[in-house]
Every structure is written in C-alpha cells, then in structure tokens.
C-alpha cells in the first residue's frame, strides 16, 4: 500500500493505482479527455499533466503508477500553463458550432475550458476542414471536425463491444475517426460511444436536435429492458422523455448499457399511451377515468375470474395485486405469461440477456410466497372449456419483446369479459372485436416507486422519475379498485363521499406539484439577475 502526497494531501492507495485514479477517488480536480475509467489508457490528450517532485518533465497522471513517497501536484503554475495550452491545442481546429452542437451544455471541452482554459486564443490560421454529418451506423452520426481524437470510441469498440468497427485514419491533423472498410457501427452497444465522446463528434441519431440538454432534467432509475437491470438515467422535461443513458454501477452494468435499452423511454411518452380508460358500448368507445372504470367493473370480477401477469411490474405491485386476487378468487387462477422462456438464459457476453422482463425473479418469488403453481396450459384449457368468465391481463410494457403478443391476444379474447391493464397503447388491443373489453391504462415504470429483482437475484429499488399521466393507476391500485379491497392501500382524504368519490380522491392526492414550472421560474429569475448586471 504505497503512500503518496497529492496537492499536499497525504493518501494511501492500492498497489498499481495510477495518479488519475487516486485523484478521482479523492475528489481532486484534474483535466482529462482520453482517460475513461472503463477503458484502457491511451495517454494522447496530454491534459492530465502533473508535476512529480524530482522529475523535471511533467508527467501524465493517467499512465503514471503511484510509488511510495511520491509527491504529486497539479496546481502549480507550470501545470496550469501546460493544461491551458493543452486545451488550446485541442481547440485550434475545433469548429465554433456550439450553437448547433447537441453536446453543448454537457460538453467536456466547454466544461474544462471554463475551468482550465486560456481565454486568450492566439490561433488565427484557417481551421482544418473535415467531413461533417457522416453516418457511422444506424444510430450514430459523426462530425469529424468536432472530434478531438481522444480515441475513446475506438477503444470502446476494441475493448468492450469487441466489434472492431472504428479506427483512426490518416495522420497528423488530418486524422479522422471512421469505420473500417465495409463495416458500419451497428453493434448492440454503439450508443455508448456517443456517451463517452467528450465532445459533440458522435451524436445519437435518435436524440439529435430534439432538445437542448439544458432543457432536460434527469433522474436515476433501473432499466426495464431485460433481466440485467442496468442502472440508468432518464432525461425528460414537461414535453416527455427524450433519452436514456447508463449510470455507473460496478455490480450490474459497469459504465455501459445496450442500445435496445435506450428505447425504453418511448413507452412512457404520452403519444404512446392511452390517456383514459375505455370500453365499448354498441361499437362506440366510451372513455372514463381509469379509477372510475376500475370501480365500474367490480361486478365482473367473480370466482370465475383469472389473472394473467408478466414479469414487467415491480415486486410491490405484484405482491399486493396478486395477494388481493388470491384472497378474493383463489391461487389456482393466477397465470404467468412467459415470453420465449426457452431464450431466457441467453446472454450476449456483455449485458443483454434473453429474459426481457426486468422482474421475472420478483414474480416467481411472489408466486412461491403465495404458493401459486399453475401452468399456462391450464389457462388455455379453462378458456376453451369456458370456465373463465372474466380475464384480467396485466400486459407488458415492453411489448416489442413479446413476439407472441398477437397470438396470446387471440387466446385471451376467448374469455367472456376481458379486462386489459397496460401502460402502452397498442393497436392490436384497440382493434380487438371483443364485445366486453375494458381497457385500464397503467402507470409506466418511470412513474412509480418499486423494486426489481434482476437475473442474479439483486434487489434494486428505484423511485418515480416524474408523472406523465396523472390519472393512470398502478397495477395494485387497479386490482384493488376492481376487487373493492383497495382501502388501506392508499390514504383517502375526508372530503370525499361515496366510493367513487374516494377513488377519485386517491388519484387527486397523488398529483405532484408542477415541478417544471417552478424550475422555469427559477431559471428566469437567474436570467433577470444576469440582465441587470
């Protein structure tokens, strides 16, 4: 365990720790671009310069291993000057198109220039022209002029995704990132290159030009795209959700996430969801508030009912909803809808797993706890025999990963009454010619608190990010209202009279304050103050 002194602070580090790792671990500021904790050391940006006592030359912190008694310092004038010029070298051929660059606002170059920059550019020569708006693959767009050639993306495809698509071509200041001949950047993890790009050279085709990043807020949650349960951050504002990025979690996903998981935000956006509950009367659609509809159909839920669940709900929801159903109807009528169970143990070697449900383990735990051991064939048998009057289906949110969705839908429509609980809008359901179909929109997973248990049994709790549709219900609320046993689940205020009114109240009390407006107000105050100065 060598001991060293960094900027006057004595610390003890593990054998083999580099200076930059030690500085990061001890919250010391140091400029860097090419170094990324999840990738190998390239040492090409030459920004993480430090002065080591006894060494006349400045050393780079990312490739210098700490030895006993090392005295390191990156606040001296010499280092500051080196970093200033290092940044200036980065900028001399960097185009000034921050206004149209998607990275502006979260750009490494902007941030570090504010902190370490020279503020006195002396470059007066014409800049090097390179290719702009190059399609590297279906999801990633390259702007070579903005690229500072830190080689993070190249190292990512070489070391993490092992797909070897990217390379640096040509040399000197004519160097450019590009794909090797005949290849496109289309691996399953390609958008990670966009995340690690410290400038706006690589941008996501999906997010490109849709929002400026300073209009977005973010919050951490867990990806519901597969049973790995990556730690993610969703970016949203009052207009909806815009993108998903991975958050470092050493136990689950490291620094990365897959491209498919980045699409999950779409399911939560308004345009992909039913705003109201609905059912058909004489071919006409009648819309009703979800809570009202749930209570209206209380009478349909009899002992002849069955409940179909998927592993797409939180442990808490499943526990309460199935618990209530079992209490009222019985354990033999709860069924697990498994999508492609034969692929469940598939694994692509990096993150993505065959089981595309985030909480299959959680569901199985609930089944075990409530001693439910039904089989899918029993449901089909019962449906064919007409033993099921009312079928409640808690349909999945990530429908794209349910290739058997249509097929299963036709099986379910054999039931006399079909109560459909789902958070996303599906055309297949709307087009169902079923006479007695009741559709209750549910909350999306970003709108509720809960716990997912991943493939390895790791329990991960997450908090609601925001509320998109206020009147939608969680699975347990919906079941509770349908079964008439929702009391005790949700606090009810006194100003209500009658059950319907109570149900309305529970939704009302849940409405959060409009945070977006508050923040906008704050932002404007800031602008005003700045205007005054």
């Amino acid at each position: 365990m060598p001991r060293c002194t960094i900027n006057g602070v004595e610390i003890e580090v593990k054998e083999g720790t580099t200076i930059i790792q030690a500085m990061m671990a001890h919250q010391q500021r140091i400029a860097h671009y090419c170094w990324h904790p999840g990738l190998s050391v390239a040492g090409v940006c030459r920004l993480c310069m430090v002065e080591i006592e006894g060494n006349p030359r400045l050393q780079i912190a990312c490739n210098t291993v700490i030895t006993e008694g090392m005295k390191i310092n990156n606040t001296s004038e010499k280092v500051k000057e080196a970093v200033k010029w290092g940044l200036d070298f980065h900028l001399i051929n960097h185009p000034l198109d921050c206004p149209i660059c998607d990275q502006a606002g979260e750009c490494g170059l902007q941030e570090q220039y504010m902190e370490f920059g020279k503020y006195d550019p002396e470059m007066a020569e014409p800049k090097q022209k390179k290719r702009k708006v190059v399609d590297l693959g279906p999801r990633v767009v390259l702007d070579s002029e903005r690229c500072i050639l830190c080689s993070r993306c190249v190292r990512f495809t070489d070391e993490v995704s092992k797909s070897y698509e990217l390379g640096i071509f040509n040399r000197g200041d004519r160097s450019e990132i590009g794909t090797h001949a005949g290849k496109t950047l289309d691996n399953k993890y390609s958008l990670n290159t966009v995340d690690i790009c410290p400038v706006g050279a690589l941008t996501s085709r999906d997010f490109r030009f849709r929002q400026r990043v300073w209009y977005l807020k973010d919050q951490n949650t867990i990806c519901n795209g597969c049973s790995t349960g990556c730690h993610i951050k969703v970016y949203f504002n009052k207009e909806g959700f815009f993108r998903v990025k991975p958050v470092y979690n050493a136990e689950v996903n490291g620094y990365w996430m897959c491209d498919e998981g980045r699409d999950i935000y779409r399911f939560a956006n308004k345009e992909n969801r039913w705003q109201q509950g609905w059912y058909r009367v004489d071919g006409n659609i009648v819309e009703l508030k979800p809570a009202e509809l749930a209570q209206k159909i209380q009478s349909l839920v009899t002992s002849q009912s069955a409940f179909v669940v998927t592993g797409q709900f939180t442990c808490e929801e499943l526990d309460r909803a199935i618990g209530m159903f079992v209490k009222k109807v019985g354990a033999s009528n709860v069924f697990h809808w498994q999508n492609e169970p034969e692929r469940w143990n598939d694994f692509d070697g990096i993150l993505l797993r065959g089981d595309r449900n985030p909480n299959t383990r959680g569901l199985l735990e609930v089944f075990q706890k409530l001693q439910i051991n039904t089989h899918w064939d029993q449901l089909i048998q019962k449906l064919q025999q007409g033993m099921i009057e009312t079928l409640i289906v808690a349909a999945p949110e990530g429908v794209t990963w349910y290739p058997d969705f249509k097929e299963k839908l036709s099986i379910f429509s054999k039931a006399k009454n079909l109560i459909w609980l789902q958070s996303v809008k599906r055309k297949e359901v709307e087009e169902l010619p079923h006479k007695s179909l009741y559709v209750i929109p549910l909350k999306s997973y970003v709108e509720k608190n809960g716990t997912f248990i991943n493939y390895a049994g790791l329990r991960q709790s997450f908090k609601a990010v925001t509320t998109v549709l206020h009147e939608t219900l969680t699975l347990d609320q919906a079941l509770g209202l349908m079964l008439g046993s929702w009391e005790g689940l949700i606090p009810v205020t006194q100003n209500a009279s009658g059950v319907t009114a109570n149900a309305m109240t529970l939704v009302e009390t849940e409405r959060p304050k409009d945070r977006v407006l508050n923040e906008t107000r704050k932002r404007n105050e800031f602008i005003f103050q700045r205007g005054r100065l």
Binding site: V41, A42, G43, V44, C45, R46, L47, M49, R57, L58, N63, E81, A82, W85, G86, F89, H90, I92, N93, E122, M123, A124, E125, P126, Q128, I148, L149, G167, I168, N170, R171, G172, D173, R174, S175
Partner: protein, 432 residues
C-alpha cells in the same frame, strides 16, 4: 585531414557486399568468437566499450540490453533501418556496402540477448539497400550463418526484412514496433518500455543499424580497442552524413569529439563559391541549429553538443551558407513535421499544423509582428508534452531558429520579404 575508417574500412571494395568477399576480409570471424563466449560476457563487453546508440538518442547500448527481464519469455531483436531523419544517409551506406557486417552484428547482439528472431525494419523507399540485404540474407542462410544451429554452436536464429511504408514516425522505437505488429505506426505509451514489453508484448531490443554494425568492431578490438577513438563519454567512431552547402557532401567516419570545423572545412572541402558559413544543423533536422560562431567551437560528441543546447542525433550535419533564408529553411522543416506527425497526441498533432501554418503565412508575406513570438510560444508548449519525441523534434528547431536568427524573422514579418533573398518565398503549395 583524414577519416578514421574503422567501421567503413573496406567499404570501398565491391566484393565486400557479398559473403565471399566479406569473409575474405575477416567477416564472420567475430560471430565465431562470440558464439564461444557467454552471452552475459558480450553484454558486459558492450557495456564496457561505452557504445552509445547511433540512432539519435545516444542511449548506452549495453545498458539497454541489460534491461531485459530474465523471465524466460521469447525476446526479439529489431534493427531500426527506417532512416527517416532529413539529412541522414549513413545506415543506407552500411546496408548497401556491408550488409553482412550488419547481419553479423545482429547475430552477435541476438546471441548476447538470447533472442531467436530478429527483424530488420527498412525504410520503404530504400529499394536498393533492401535488395542487397535480401541477397545477403539468402547467402547467410545458405552458408548456415542463419537458421538452426548456427555454425554448430547450438544457437539458432531467424532474420527477416520488414519493409516500412515511408512514415518518419516509424523510426521511433515504439512506433516501429506498432508498425511491425501490423498496427498503424504510432508510438506507444512508456512505461512499459520495449525492453520489458515490446514487439508482440514480449521483451524487445531495438537498435540502430550503425550500433549493431559497431558491435562487430567492439568484439574485434575489445572495449579498450574501441575506446581508443572518441572521448571518455562518447567512445568510438561514428559516420557523419555531411550535406548542404559544402563542396564534398557525403558520409565521413570520424572519431567522436572530432571538431565540426574540420569536418566542414577539412573533409567537406568548405563552402563553395566563397560564401560564408551561416548555420549548421548538427544532428539531423530535429536538432537545434548552431550559428557559424558556435559551429566553429563545436566538437562532434554527445556532451559538447548537449552543452551547446543541441544534440548529436543521428549525425546528419546540414551546412547552411549565407545564401539561405532561415525563415525559408524553417518553413521547409515545419512542413515536414506537419506532414509526419502521427496525430496521436494533441500538442503535436495540432501544434505541428499550427507552426506550419504560421511559418507558411510569414513566408507568403502575410506575417504579423506577433507571429515570431507566437512561434516560440507554441513550440515551447509542445516541447516535452507528448508520448514520443516528435513534438520536441518539431519544437526545438523552431525555438533555436527564432532565437538565433530573430533578425531575419523580424525582417520578414515587417517587410513581407526575405532579408537574404529580397523576395517573397511563398512556396508552401509546392509541397502539397
């Protein structure tokens, strides 16, 4: 005034290029002698001789060989024949005139470091030397001097020629290794050093052609015999490539410590047409320039030149007389480094381009008074900030040119034309 021909003693003989002729003049007897010695003894012998790398950095060869870890991993010997430094043409002479001397030196070195595979990385443009080397290798294999069980000693060694693709940076040790591995020719981060983790991540020794050829001489004369020439810290003889405004340019072998004045005015025959000496670049284009007055005092050894703020480098002495415009010369150099920067480290990638653009702008008559200081500042901040020494190689000439010939630069930016030639020398496009 005469050359001291030790290494190049028989280079004037046509037959020396072939195995038969080489053996006639005592060739491969040193290999026989070496194969009877212990490898460690040879390393000690080279250490004692004080032989310093002839490629440019001047690192003691024996010490370098001693860095190899003793972990039983396969080791590689690479011969750096990627002679790219502008002004240098000494390795070419050795490869053309005495390929077997190089092969013998490499075999001795390989035996000393217990390597069983070596490569000669030759500059791609050296068509003729490559053909000569190929022929020599063929001869050596046929004579049992290469391959399995060399001369019945039980030592086996294979040698190959690898032809570079013409990048200056591949003459840098780790860049050469990258190129040889099949990657883009870019220097690698140190540590780990090649002696620990080099070619294919195995311990590797990279030596210059002249260094390896000199090993034969050390074995023949012994450390003391080798130290007969040269100075205490820079022993032995060295081939200097004299070029520029001299009467008789060419390769001259002289002992280290030889006065620069004698090389230029004695062996080189002086400056033609009665012109005056203006400046000398003593060690290839990346060495800082010497003024005429400094050049008169300088001796050709590592210490004296280092004290004068320049370096011996690869021994390429470029002589400039008073007809040369220093701004023009710098423009030429900057264009070269801009073109040859590998583009890995930011200060070098962007800095060489920046320096090139500034000098070309000055040359075209569009210079600003602040440009001269800016040149110095940019160069100063490129120096010592990168993985390899290319950015230093680009920065040092700039800094020395600007400091020592400031008047010419100032004249150019103020008057928009060359002080020496009296006209605008905008020729930047010519090179593109």
């Amino acid at each position: 005034m005469k050359e001291t021909k030790v290494l190049t003693e028989h280079y004037d003989k046509e037959e020396y290029r072939f195995l038969e002729g080489y053996q006639k003049w005592g060739g491969y007897s040193m290999l026989r002698k070496a194969l009877k010695m212990k490898p460690g003894d040879i390393v000690e012998m080279v250490k004692a001789s004080g032989l310093r790398g002839r490629g440019g950095a001047g690192f003691p060869t024996g010490v370098k060989w001693g860095f190899l870890p003793k972990n039983g991993e396969p080791r590689y010997l690479l011969c750096n024949a990627d002679e790219g430094e502008p002004g240098t043409f000494k390795d070419r002479l050795i490869m053309e005139r005495a390929p077997h001397q190089l092969i013998e030196g490499m075999l001795i070195a390989a035996y000393a470091i217990e390597s069983h595979k070596s490569y000669i990385y030759v500059r791609g443009e050296y068509n003729y030397p490559i053909r000569v080397l190929e022929k020599a290798l063929e001869e050596a294999y046929q004579a049992g001097l290469l391959g399995r069980n060399i001369l019945g000693s039980g030592f086996h060694h294979d040698m190959d020629i690898y032809r570079g693709a013409g990048a200056y940076i591949c003459g840098e040790e780790t860049g050469l290794i990258s190129s040889l591995e099949g990657y883009k020719g870019q220097p690698k981060l140190k540590p780990p050093f090649p002696a620990v983790q080099g070619y294919l991540k195995k311990p590797t020794i990279v030596n210059n052609v002249e260094t390896l050829a000199a090993v034969v001489i050390i074995l023949r004369d012994g450390p003391e015999g080798y130290r007969k020439y040269g100075t205490e810290k820079s022993p032995g003889t060295k081939i200097f490539s004299l070029s520029g405004n001299v009467l008789r340019p060419g390769n001259y072998e002289v002992p280290l410590g030889f006065p620069l004045k004698d090389l230029i005015f004695g062996l080189g025959g002086g400056i033609p047409n009665g012109h005056q000496l203006k400046a000398v670049i003593p060690g290839g284009s990346s060495a800082p320039v010497l003024t005429a007055e400094e050049a008169m005092r300088a001796t050709l050894d590592y210490e004296c030149l280092a004290n004068m703020g320049t370096m011996l480098g690869s021994g390429a002495v470029i002589v400039l007389d008073d007809r040369q415009c220093m701004v023009d010369c710098l423009g030429n150099l900057m264009h070269f480094y801009h073109h040859e920067s590998c583009g890995q480290c930011t200060p070098c990638r962007e800095g060489t381009g920046w320096l090139d653009k500034i000098t070309q702008r000055i040359l075209s008559g569009q210079g600003q008074p602040a440009d001269v200081d800016l040149l110095f500042k940019v160069a100063d901040n490129m120096k010592g900030r990168t993985i390899c020494a290319l950015s230093d190689a680009a920065a040092l000439p700039v800094m020395s040119f600007v400091t020592k010939f400031r008047d010419e630069f100032d004249y150019y930016v103020h008057n928009g034309k060359s002080k020496v030639k009296g006209k605008v020398l905008a020729h930047a496009q010519m090179y593109h």
